[in-house]
């Protein structure tokens, strides 16, 4: 249904999407090939080489423990991608489940689910994520869980809105007229037709999730040392920022590339997925 030719065509027409795709592909590839391309181990300390400027031996310089910043940044990509994807996939999964039930069933079920969603939404997301993580204790896993919970309402609302709109489409009504069960109707008719806004939202959400997770690590609640997570690295780099600029700059740069890449890609996904735009 989605032909490679069409994807290439769209990428050709839309430069920003192309840039976004390249950025995301770059981050994913370096994450996957980390052990192959990194000259050093991310955790082995080498105090004599600490805080060296970027050079041929250390492309991005070294940190205060003598570890190669380049290697740590690349391994950080692994962590960030995993974090981003997990948060979004789980939040979307749970959110869509409740959202579709809420939208399709209506009535009391809808009101209860919406009330719960609204309760979560009434807190500013960062504050709630902070509070949850603080309650559960610092750590990357807890941060991911907290951010996930905070993101779920977004998908509940998105899915509910889609279901409400699509429920009245004639093809859904037709499905009811041959006795199709509600669960099947949602799976076969409704979800495939709201994939586009869902996937767009998810892609944009990955960038967002990575940013929040990094921010949490930055303030010390997320990834704990010695994990080479970008936010955590920037946190430590703060002290050295003036004289050893490379330590904060490179992780920061990679956060920028990753988040921006996913945002640009998310915008372009809509065009790729629409079955109505002709080849």
């Amino acid at each position: 249904m989605i032909s490679p030719k069409k994807i290439v065509g769209i990428l050709e027409q839309n430069t920003l999407t192309l840039i976004g795709t390249i950025m995301v592909a770059f981050i994913i590839i370096i994450g996957i090939t980390a052990p192959l391309i990194c000259p050093y181990d991310p955790n082995i300390m080498d105090i004599p080489s600490r805080l060296q400027a970027p050079s041929l031996a250390h492309f991005f310089g070294t940190d205060e423990m003598g570890r190669d910043v380049f290697t740590r940044v690349i391994y950080g990509a692994r962590i960030s991608i995993t974090v981003g994807l997990s948060i979004v996939v789980i939040a979307a999964g749970v959110g869509c489940f409740f959202g579709s039930i809420s939208g399709y069933a209506g009535g009391k079920v809808d009101r209860v689910i919406m009330a719960c969603t609204d309760m979560v939404l009434s807190f500013p997301s960062m504050v709630l994520a902070l509070a949850l993580t603080a309650a559960m204790g610092p750590g990357l896993f807890n941060t991911m869980l907290a951010v996930c919970i905070v993101r779920i309402p977004l998908y509940v609302r998105l899915m509910r809105g889609q279901v409400l709109a699509l429920k009245e489409m004639q093809y859904v009504r037709a499905a009811r007229t041959f006795g199709e069960r509600p669960a099947k109707i949602i799976l076969r008719h409704i979800i495939p037709n709201c994939l586009t806004p869902l996937l767009v939202q998810m892609t944009l959400g990955i960038g967002d999730a990575i940013l929040i997770a990094s921010s949490m690590s930055f303030i010390g609640l997320g990834a704990q040392p010695p994990t080479p997570e970008w936010g955590a690295m920037i946190a430590t780099a703060r002290i050295y920022a003036i004289d050893q600029w490379w330590y904060a700059a490179f992780p920061g740069l990679f956060i920028l590339i990753t988040v921006m890449g996913f945002n640009l890609l998310g915008d372009g996904i809509r065009d790729i997925l629409d079955p109505r735009s002709k080849d």
């Binding site: 249904m1 489409m169 004639q170 093809y171 009504r173 037709a174 499905a175 009811r176 007229t177 041959f178 006795g179 199709e180 069960r181 099947k184 076969r188 008719h189 495939p192 037709n193 994939l195 079955p275 109505r276």
Partner: protein
């Protein structure tokens, strides 16, 4: 002979909540009684707001009536539960008006046609595929279309696919809710031809809803004229449309533009205020040139003007 489908005093009220929580009630159907015999084609004609689509929704049980009964082959289906209804669903099917939203955009033609069969669960994959090919041929389309998506077809072809889908469960009654209103005239002719030949071939019973009087006359044996939730007149199509008895039907026919017919200047009363809905009396009271005080009271019920030609009007 017992009618295949009978509707007795069917009423439907919608409750609409406005922003502040106050509810207004809208009576979409104010007591409809109809009967359709097996093999015949009943046309329902009316303008917007007359309730014809609501009637279709109730018969196909996408909604439940507020009052009255829908009797299919002797069984009252108006309020039976979904579980029981599922068994009966294969007997009545519907074709909707909009060819662009009646087929699921992300399913292939094969999936669309085999879905009703999957729900019924009585056939194997090969049998289902075979049946899908047969259905396509019935509506004049090639089997190579099975792998294509709805957006690749024109409006007329999509309506044909909708008809094919409706026939999957071998229904006895087919409700056609304005099936050709969104189509060009020449495409409409193709679809109407298919519908007439299918009716003969498969001994189908049609309930054909439309606002287009000529189309209704072409395809139906009998016609019912609806206005604001009530049936004004019902009888053989020829009689109704060639010698109408009810003032509303007469007005409707005068207004239909036909090639070659001289233009008849309408009375310049205008649709200014949304008139108050009349619940008990004749809904046409405000616009009827013959309206009397007693028209606001109880309606006369059906008066038989001629053979099988019934009119609900004091004037007759």
């Amino acid at each position: 002979m017992e009618p295949l489908l009978e509707i007795r005093e069917l009423k439907k009220t919608f409750k609409i909540k406005n922003f502040f929580g106050a509810t207004t009630e809208v009576q979409a159907l104010k007591g409809i009684s109809l009967a359709i015999n097996k093999g015949e084609s009943l046309g329902i004609v009316g303008e917007s707001g007359c309730g014809k689509s609501t009637l279709a929704n109730l018969i196909i049980r996408l909604d439940e009536p507020t009052d009255g009964a829908i009797i299919l082959d002797g069984q009252d289906i108006s309020h039976i539960k979904e579980k029981e209804l599922r068994r009966l669903r294969s007997r009545i099917q519907i074709v909707f008006q909009d060819p662009y939203s009646s087929l699921s955009p992300r399913m292939t033609v094969e999936q669309i046609l085999t879905e009703p069969m999957c729900v019924a669960g009585t056939k194997t994959f090969t049998e289902m595929r075979q049946k899908a090919v047969e259905l396509l041929e019935l509506v004049g389309m090639r089997s190579s279309n099975l792998t294509r998506y709805p957006h690749e077809f024109s409006g007329g072809q999509r309506q044909r696919l909708s008809i094919a889908r409706a026939l999957t469960t071998e229904p006895e009654i087919l409700i056609l809710d304005e099936p050709t209103s969104a189509l060009d005239v020449s495409v409409q002719a193709q679809v109407l031809n298919i519908l007439t030949s299918l009716q003969k071939k498969m001994d189908l019973t049609y309930l054909f809803i439309s606002h287009n009087l000529a189309v209704v006359k072409y395809i139906s044996n009998r016609t019912a004229v609806m206005y604001r939730g009530k049936v004004m007149e019902i009888g053989p199509s020829k009689n109704i449309l060639m010698s109408p008895a009810h003032p509303y039907t007469k007005k409707l026919l005068e207004a239909v533009p036909i090639v070659g017919k001289p233009f008849h200047q309408p009375d310049t009363e205008d649709a200014s205020v949304n008139e108050e809905d009349i619940l008990d009396g004749c809904g046409y009271y405000y616009r009827c040139p013959f309206a009397e005080k007693k028209c606001l009271g109880k309606l006369p019920g059906f008066i038989e003007k001629a053979n099988d030609h019934l009119v609900s009007c004091w004037k007759v």
